[in-house]
Symmetry: C2
Subunit: 108 residues, 2 copies
Amino acid sequence: MNELLDLAFAALADPTRRAILRRLAKGEANVGDIAENFPISQPAISRHLKVLEEAGLIETARVGQSRPRRLRPEGAEQAQRFLAEMASYWPDRFDRLEQFLDSEKDSK
Amino acid sequence: MNELLDLAFAALADPTRRAILRRLAKGEANVGDIAENFPISQPAISRHLKVLEEAGLIETARVGQSRPRRLRPEGAEQAQRFLAEMASYWPDRFDRLEQFLDSEKDSK
DNA sequence: TATTTATATAACAATTACGTTATGTAAAGA
DNA sequence: TCTTTACATAACGTAATTGTTATATAAATA
């Protein structure tokens, strides 16, 4: 139903993928550029890139035989909105605890 | 290396868990309250709650035999910061670039 | 055309994730 | 004390994730 949001959060849960995003914040990079700087194989990088792209967080161009990736920051907007809403909620702990205890008392 | 951020994003990737968070934004709820409104078993809910708590997104109180959960919005702050900075990145906006590149490092 | 280069895909193993049902535990109430 | 209530935990099946190595594909180059 909200699959893109699922995919975006799942993509962001992997530290290697977050590192790739930070790398792409420096500018476009192709697979080889990225793979050189990570301790995992090129196929593993290719798969991480696919995950990031399917989540809408990056996009791919085609220049000759290389496929430069770049950040697609708008892909994070929905996830950002979810977190902003959550963070805007602040439980007044004391009050809520009182409220809970009161409701327990009432139902006795 | 930033395991809490991994856990937070992974927790947020599941739609059932996001629904639980939205439920908790309306106020504290215990396991039974939540399980009633979801099409999965109580043990499954208990596990989702454990995942959310280990990610720092909710916390648990003890009142008699029930364990009311409540939102812990500050648990989402680091994730929110990562996304906000990524979303503020634009290929020609180098003023934001440095901030984004250092985001995980800084919030350690 | 044949070779090299850049990247993707396939096949596989190990681990983790998410659901189920069955059962354990601790507090509440008769 | 005995039962019920609220929740956690265990055991298990299945599917997804993440890495590996081997191989396929398509563009660049000799």
